[in-house]
Protein backbone atom coordinates (compact mmCIF):
# COMPACT_ATOMS: atom_id res chain seq x y z
CA UNK A 1 0.00 0.00 0.00
CA UNK A 2 1.26 3.39 -0.87
CA UNK A 3 1.50 5.93 1.85
CA UNK A 4 1.79 8.77 -0.63
CA UNK A 5 -1.58 10.41 -0.89
CA UNK A 6 -2.36 13.98 -1.46
CA UNK A 7 -2.01 15.85 1.80
CA UNK A 8 -5.45 17.40 1.55
CA UNK A 9 -8.68 15.49 1.31
CA UNK A 10 -12.24 16.61 1.63
CA UNK A 11 -14.22 15.16 4.50
CA UNK A 12 -17.97 14.89 4.39
CA UNK A 13 -19.86 16.57 7.18
CA UNK A 14 -20.86 13.24 8.64
CA UNK A 15 -17.27 12.17 9.26
CA UNK A 16 -15.45 14.69 11.37
CA UNK A 17 -16.39 12.95 14.63
CA UNK A 18 -12.71 12.38 15.24
CA UNK A 19 -12.16 16.06 15.02
CA UNK A 20 -9.11 15.26 12.94
CA UNK A 21 -10.41 16.51 9.67
CA UNK A 22 -10.89 20.04 10.82
CA UNK A 23 -8.05 22.38 10.15
CA UNK A 24 -7.76 25.94 11.27
CA UNK A 25 -8.65 27.51 7.97
CA UNK A 26 -11.91 25.58 7.79
CA UNK A 27 -10.75 23.24 5.03
CA UNK A 28 -11.65 19.72 6.02
CA UNK A 29 -8.55 17.57 6.03
CA UNK A 30 -8.34 13.94 7.03
CA UNK A 31 -5.48 11.50 6.99
CA UNK A 32 -5.69 8.54 4.65
CA UNK A 33 -7.52 5.81 6.59
CA UNK A 34 -4.52 3.51 6.84
CA UNK A 35 -1.82 6.13 7.20
CA UNK A 36 1.12 4.87 9.18
CA UNK A 37 1.97 7.04 12.10
CA UNK A 38 4.99 6.77 14.39
CA UNK A 39 2.71 4.92 16.81
CA UNK A 40 1.69 2.23 14.33
CA UNK A 41 3.48 -1.03 15.22
CA UNK A 42 5.98 -1.87 12.53
CA UNK A 43 4.63 -5.38 12.19
CA UNK A 44 0.93 -5.43 12.78
CA UNK A 45 0.52 -9.19 12.63
CA UNK A 46 2.68 -12.14 11.82
CA UNK A 47 2.33 -14.43 8.85
CA UNK A 48 1.64 -17.58 10.85
CA UNK A 49 -1.71 -18.34 9.23
CA UNK A 50 -0.24 -17.91 5.76
CA UNK A 51 2.55 -20.37 6.52
CA UNK A 52 0.03 -22.78 8.03
CA UNK A 53 -2.09 -22.55 4.88
CA UNK A 54 0.94 -23.20 2.69
CA UNK A 55 2.10 -26.07 4.90
CA UNK A 56 -1.29 -27.81 4.51
CA UNK A 57 -0.84 -27.79 0.75
CA UNK A 58 2.83 -28.77 0.61
CA UNK A 59 2.48 -31.55 3.20
CA UNK A 60 -0.69 -32.70 1.41
CA UNK A 61 1.20 -33.32 -1.83
CA UNK A 62 3.97 -35.25 -0.07
CA UNK A 63 1.44 -37.23 1.98
CA UNK A 64 -0.30 -38.46 -1.18
CA UNK A 65 2.87 -40.41 -2.03
CA UNK A 66 3.75 -41.47 1.52
CA UNK A 67 0.27 -42.47 2.70
CA UNK A 68 -1.02 -44.09 -0.47
CA UNK A 69 2.30 -45.94 -0.82
CA UNK A 70 1.95 -47.10 2.79
CA UNK A 71 -1.58 -48.37 2.13
CA UNK A 72 -0.53 -50.30 -0.97
CA UNK A 73 2.39 -51.93 0.85
CA UNK A 74 0.47 -52.79 4.02
CA UNK A 75 -2.96 -53.66 2.65
CA UNK A 76 -2.57 -54.74 -0.97
CA UNK A 77 0.70 -56.44 -1.89
CA UNK A 78 1.83 -59.83 -0.54
CA UNK A 79 -1.51 -60.90 0.90
CA UNK A 80 -2.53 -57.58 2.40
CA UNK A 81 -3.19 -57.38 6.12
CA UNK A 82 -2.75 -61.18 6.51
CA UNK A 83 1.04 -60.87 6.33
CA UNK A 84 1.47 -58.16 8.96
CA UNK A 85 3.28 -59.29 12.08
CA UNK A 86 6.23 -58.38 14.26
CA UNK A 87 8.52 -60.17 11.80
CA UNK A 88 7.17 -58.12 8.91
CA UNK A 89 7.84 -54.86 10.78
CA UNK A 90 11.32 -56.05 11.65
CA UNK A 91 11.99 -56.78 7.99
CA UNK A 92 10.97 -53.31 6.87
CA UNK A 93 12.62 -51.31 9.64
CA UNK A 94 15.89 -53.10 8.94
CA UNK A 95 16.16 -50.60 6.11
CA UNK A 96 16.94 -46.94 6.80
CA UNK A 97 14.87 -46.06 3.74
CA UNK A 98 11.64 -47.38 5.24
CA UNK A 99 12.53 -45.97 8.64
CA UNK A 100 12.90 -42.58 7.00
CA UNK A 101 9.68 -43.03 5.05
CA UNK A 102 7.71 -43.85 8.19
CA UNK A 103 9.36 -41.08 10.19
CA UNK A 104 8.55 -38.43 7.59
CA UNK A 105 5.01 -39.76 7.21
CA UNK A 106 4.51 -39.66 10.99
CA UNK A 107 5.68 -36.06 11.34
CA UNK A 108 3.93 -34.69 8.28
CA UNK A 109 0.62 -36.47 8.92
CA UNK A 110 0.58 -35.50 12.60
CA UNK A 111 1.39 -31.85 11.93
CA UNK A 112 -1.00 -31.67 8.98
CA UNK A 113 -3.82 -33.36 10.87
CA UNK A 114 -3.19 -31.40 14.03
CA UNK A 115 -3.17 -28.08 12.19
CA UNK A 116 -6.35 -29.13 10.41
CA UNK A 117 -7.97 -29.93 13.74
CA UNK A 118 -6.90 -26.51 15.03
CA UNK A 119 -8.92 -24.96 12.21
CA UNK A 120 -11.91 -27.11 13.10
CA UNK A 121 -11.68 -26.12 16.79
CA UNK A 122 -11.43 -22.44 15.86
CA UNK A 123 -14.54 -22.82 13.73
CA UNK A 124 -16.83 -24.56 16.19
CA UNK A 125 -15.70 -23.75 19.73
CA UNK A 126 -17.25 -20.36 20.38
CA UNK A 127 -16.02 -19.62 23.88
CA UNK A 128 -12.42 -18.46 24.19
CA UNK A 129 -11.89 -20.76 27.15
CA UNK A 130 -13.21 -23.81 25.33
CA UNK A 131 -10.91 -23.07 22.41
CA UNK A 132 -7.94 -22.73 24.72
CA UNK A 133 -8.62 -26.05 26.45
CA UNK A 134 -9.30 -27.98 23.27
CA UNK A 135 -6.17 -26.63 21.59
CA UNK A 136 -4.05 -27.36 24.66
CA UNK A 137 -5.34 -30.92 24.65
CA UNK A 138 -4.59 -31.16 20.92
CA UNK A 139 -1.07 -29.88 21.45
CA UNK A 140 -0.36 -32.36 24.24
CA UNK A 141 -1.77 -35.27 22.19
CA UNK A 142 0.24 -34.25 19.13
CA UNK A 143 3.56 -33.80 20.92
CA UNK A 144 3.05 -37.09 22.76
CA UNK A 145 2.19 -39.04 19.59
CA UNK A 146 5.00 -37.59 17.48
CA UNK A 147 7.60 -38.21 20.19
CA UNK A 148 6.36 -41.73 20.95
CA UNK A 149 6.33 -42.67 17.27
CA UNK A 150 9.78 -41.23 16.69
CA UNK A 151 11.16 -43.06 19.71
CA UNK A 152 9.65 -46.34 18.51
CA UNK A 153 11.17 -46.01 15.03
CA UNK A 154 14.63 -45.15 16.36
CA UNK A 155 14.79 -47.64 19.23
CA UNK A 156 13.15 -50.60 17.46
CA UNK A 157 14.90 -53.82 18.45
CA UNK A 158 14.21 -56.92 16.30
CA UNK A 159 15.71 -59.21 18.97
CA UNK A 160 13.57 -57.98 21.85
Amino acid sequence: MSTETSPVELVSSSQPHTGKGLSADGVHVIEPPRARTPRTPRVTRGNFEMWAWLFMRLSGVVLVVLVLGHLVIQLVVDGGVSKISFAFVAGRWASPFWQGWDLLMLWLAMLHGSNGLRTVINDYAERANTRLWLKSLLLVATVFTVLLGTLVIFTFDPNI
Partner: protein, 126 residues
Protein backbone atom coordinates in the same frame (compact mmCIF):
# COMPACT_ATOMS: atom_id res chain seq x y z
CA UNK B 1 -24.84 -22.98 14.27
CA UNK B 2 -21.63 -20.95 14.72
CA UNK B 3 -21.42 -18.13 12.24
CA UNK B 4 -19.58 -18.79 9.03
CA UNK B 5 -19.37 -22.55 9.31
CA UNK B 6 -22.15 -23.47 6.89
CA UNK B 7 -22.87 -21.85 3.61
CA UNK B 8 -25.42 -22.50 0.96
CA UNK B 9 -23.22 -24.00 -1.65
CA UNK B 10 -23.90 -26.96 -3.83
CA UNK B 11 -21.37 -29.70 -4.51
CA UNK B 12 -18.64 -27.36 -3.27
CA UNK B 13 -20.15 -27.24 0.20
CA UNK B 14 -20.63 -30.98 0.47
CA UNK B 15 -17.11 -31.74 -0.75
CA UNK B 16 -15.86 -29.36 1.96
CA UNK B 17 -17.96 -31.13 4.61
CA UNK B 18 -16.66 -34.52 3.43
CA UNK B 19 -13.07 -33.26 3.39
CA UNK B 20 -13.42 -32.03 6.97
CA UNK B 21 -15.13 -35.17 8.29
CA UNK B 22 -12.59 -37.49 6.64
CA UNK B 23 -9.66 -35.35 7.85
CA UNK B 24 -10.80 -35.53 11.47
CA UNK B 25 -11.52 -39.24 11.18
CA UNK B 26 -8.07 -40.00 9.76
CA UNK B 27 -6.43 -37.97 12.51
CA UNK B 28 -8.12 -39.98 15.26
CA UNK B 29 -7.22 -43.22 13.54
CA UNK B 30 -3.60 -42.10 13.21
CA UNK B 31 -3.45 -41.41 16.94
CA UNK B 32 -4.68 -44.94 17.72
CA UNK B 33 -2.44 -46.42 15.02
CA UNK B 34 0.77 -44.93 16.48
CA UNK B 35 -0.22 -46.35 19.87
CA UNK B 36 -0.84 -49.86 18.52
CA UNK B 37 2.40 -49.81 16.53
CA UNK B 38 4.28 -48.74 19.67
CA UNK B 39 3.59 -52.24 21.02
CA UNK B 40 6.55 -53.47 18.92
CA UNK B 41 8.64 -52.00 21.75
CA UNK B 42 6.80 -54.13 24.30
CA UNK B 43 7.05 -57.61 22.80
CA UNK B 44 6.43 -59.45 19.52
CA UNK B 45 3.45 -61.17 21.17
CA UNK B 46 1.85 -57.90 22.28
CA UNK B 47 2.19 -56.53 18.76
CA UNK B 48 0.92 -59.67 17.01
CA UNK B 49 -2.05 -59.70 19.41
CA UNK B 50 -3.13 -56.20 18.54
CA UNK B 51 -2.59 -56.87 14.84
CA UNK B 52 -4.90 -59.88 15.19
CA UNK B 53 -7.76 -57.46 15.91
CA UNK B 54 -7.13 -55.81 12.53
CA UNK B 55 -7.87 -59.21 11.00
CA UNK B 56 -11.29 -59.61 12.64
CA UNK B 57 -13.91 -59.28 9.89
CA UNK B 58 -15.63 -56.12 11.06
CA UNK B 59 -12.33 -54.38 11.79
CA UNK B 60 -11.24 -55.43 8.31
CA UNK B 61 -14.45 -53.82 7.01
CA UNK B 62 -13.72 -50.64 8.97
CA UNK B 63 -10.29 -50.67 7.37
CA UNK B 64 -11.97 -50.59 3.99
CA UNK B 65 -13.88 -47.57 5.28
CA UNK B 66 -10.61 -45.97 6.37
CA UNK B 67 -9.21 -46.53 2.88
CA UNK B 68 -12.35 -44.85 1.51
CA UNK B 69 -11.84 -41.83 3.78
CA UNK B 70 -8.14 -41.47 2.97
CA UNK B 71 -8.67 -41.87 -0.79
CA UNK B 72 -11.38 -39.22 -0.83
CA UNK B 73 -9.39 -36.82 1.35
CA UNK B 74 -6.25 -37.29 -0.74
CA UNK B 75 -7.96 -36.85 -4.14
CA UNK B 76 -10.11 -33.95 -3.01
CA UNK B 77 -7.09 -32.40 -1.28
CA UNK B 78 -5.32 -32.37 -4.63
CA UNK B 79 -8.40 -30.69 -6.08
CA UNK B 80 -8.32 -28.01 -3.37
CA UNK B 81 -4.64 -27.41 -4.15
CA UNK B 82 -5.44 -27.13 -7.86
CA UNK B 83 -8.22 -24.62 -7.14
CA UNK B 84 -5.76 -22.54 -5.12
CA UNK B 85 -2.72 -22.65 -7.39
CA UNK B 86 -3.91 -23.40 -10.93
CA UNK B 87 -5.09 -20.29 -12.75
CA UNK B 88 -8.08 -22.14 -14.20
CA UNK B 89 -8.74 -24.04 -10.96
CA UNK B 90 -11.87 -22.22 -9.90
CA UNK B 91 -13.37 -22.47 -13.37
CA UNK B 92 -13.01 -26.25 -13.42
CA UNK B 93 -13.63 -26.96 -9.72
CA UNK B 94 -16.90 -28.77 -10.41
CA UNK B 95 -15.48 -30.93 -13.18
CA UNK B 96 -12.54 -31.73 -10.92
CA UNK B 97 -14.91 -32.76 -8.14
CA UNK B 98 -16.71 -35.21 -10.39
CA UNK B 99 -13.35 -36.54 -11.58
CA UNK B 100 -12.41 -37.04 -7.93
CA UNK B 101 -15.66 -38.90 -7.29
CA UNK B 102 -15.23 -41.04 -10.42
CA UNK B 103 -11.62 -41.91 -9.64
CA UNK B 104 -12.58 -42.65 -6.05
CA UNK B 105 -15.30 -45.10 -7.14
CA UNK B 106 -12.83 -46.86 -9.45
CA UNK B 107 -10.10 -47.11 -6.82
CA UNK B 108 -12.57 -48.30 -4.19
CA UNK B 109 -13.78 -51.01 -6.55
CA UNK B 110 -10.17 -52.00 -7.18
CA UNK B 111 -9.35 -52.02 -3.46
CA UNK B 112 -12.37 -54.16 -2.53
CA UNK B 113 -10.79 -57.55 -3.03
CA UNK B 114 -7.19 -56.82 -1.90
CA UNK B 115 -8.22 -55.01 1.30
CA UNK B 116 -10.97 -57.48 2.25
CA UNK B 117 -9.11 -60.54 1.01
CA UNK B 118 -8.30 -61.70 4.53
CA UNK B 119 -11.98 -61.82 5.49
CA UNK B 120 -13.15 -63.18 2.13
CA UNK B 121 -10.68 -66.07 2.15
CA UNK B 122 -11.42 -67.00 5.77
CA UNK B 123 -15.13 -67.07 4.91
CA UNK B 124 -15.14 -68.61 1.46
CA UNK B 125 -11.74 -70.32 1.25
CA UNK B 126 -9.08 -69.57 -1.32
Amino acid sequence: MPAGTLYRGREGMWSWVAHRVTGVLIFFFLFAHVLDTALVRVSPEAYDNVIATYKVWFVNLMEYGLVAAILFHALNGLRVIAVDFWSKGTRYQRQMLWSVVGLWVLLMAGAFYPVLKHTLTTWFGK
